[in-house]
Symmetry: none
Subunit: 253 residues, 2 copies
Amino acid sequence: MEYTIQKLGNLTGISTRTLRYYDEIDLLKPARKSSAGYRIYSQQEVDKLQHILFYRELGLELEQIKTIVNDSDFDYAEALEEHRKKLIAKRMQLDLLITNVEKTISAKKGESTMADKEKFEGFKQKLVDDNEQQYGSEIRSEYGDELVDQSNAKMLNMSEEQYQEFTRLEQRVLASLADAVKTGDPSSDAAQQTADLHRQWLGFTWPSYSKEAHKGLAEMYVADERFAAYYDKAHPGAAQFLRDAIVIYTQQE
Amino acid sequence: MEYTIQKLGNLTGISTRTLRYYDEIDLLKPARKSSAGYRIYSQQEVDKLQHILFYRELGLELEQIKTIVNDSDFDYAEALEEHRKKLIAKRMQLDLLITNVEKTISAKKGESTMADKEKFEGFKQKLVDDNEQQYGSEIRSEYGDELVDQSNAKMLNMSEEQYQEFTRLEQRVLASLADAVKTGDPSSDAAQQTADLHRQWLGFTWPSYSKEAHKGLAEMYVADERFAAYYDKAHPGAAQFLRDAIVIYTQQE
DNA sequence: GCTTGACCTTGACGCTACGTCAAGGTATAT
DNA sequence: ATATACCTTGACGTAGCGTCAAGGTCAAGC
């Protein structure tokens, strides 16, 4: 079966302009051209187009897609993982935006008592600061821990001390965990202390404590490899160990 | 104080090209031009630029900003609210994208037993369906339940990023609550929106949603002083208010 | 064989918000 | 006078097409 450009367009829901563009950038070339210069596509191109659309659906850039569909021995996995990171970074930026917009809205609505000018100045300053922070972290790496930490701090709207307290506590959890894991016993005092620190740490971000939630989170620590990696950084097997300790901890009392 | 283009650029961190561009599109014109044709900006323009940058920071398009800063009697609130909705819609699209990418990654890793072709076909179909759903729901309303549910589904396998997402959502609940409580009306849109955010937030830690459980938790918010203290931090009486809002929310429909 | 209408071609501008030369004039200090 | 820093306008490039525009081709009906 052969298709003219419009036939193919109707089949796939892609505009003829787009198909011509894909031809132009060497992403998808027709099988041949008719004597009058018409583009003729065959089944192979239909299949290839489906591949292309698949990746386009995932938000990849056409240049990347070109590489993927042309190089048969391309590392899809890595490309996708890379792409995922980019998307997540984007989402974090969006989150920042949304928060700022919401702040602005509520400030505009709520505190008309405040001198408008003054308010504005405050916002301006804040945004400038935000900007610098963001910019700085962008330079550091694509989206390193810093950005995450900073946006967290900002978002949490914690006071600075609180935030430091929070991160300190996190460090203490890690340190304590590294220590406890050496005992090899999740029911040991050291391990149970770690679990308790972990509970306190949770208190910063969760409004309430429940054993079930705590245990649920612990399960996630082993189920999700990214989480696991975070804790295993402290010591190999630490995520598993922490899970066990928390399970015991939540069964207590 | 008067500024040449570069002076102004250094003052505000904006490139001269950008300033020239803003002149070109009539967003920010210099106060006057020197005899040699140099752009001269005065204090007024500095202030206006700050306004512009403020809105730009919020992700508004320059055309919109032009309207806002030129029409003195413009409805900021509505424009911002509109913008917020757009951002949220974008974020949900991003969430879907991320989900799809993750699905693809895990499928590639996990089920290499499946014939590649077959797998692909499935995905294609799935993506098409997703697409239609997405498109459909976008038409139905700005962001219908489907999208919310879909993004919820993803959250159930919480990863590290998702955990951060979770904490951010929590902050949004608080911000929204602080805003809503000022209306004094638990049935107001703002209050109901807060309740809805709260529901979404629950989705992170509860395997399934039920109105009863939701309402039960709300009751606890006033019964237990620790809960109350947490929410009252946002605004005195906020816990009570949130309870009332959730009760109304769960009675809906 | 001619007309009509549907389909095809290439070419080029438009969109967003600038970055980045390029070619040439201006201000200031030495 | 010269070096240097600064200014101007003009124009191309970015991603992924949408949207004319001007003109050639094909099948069908007369």
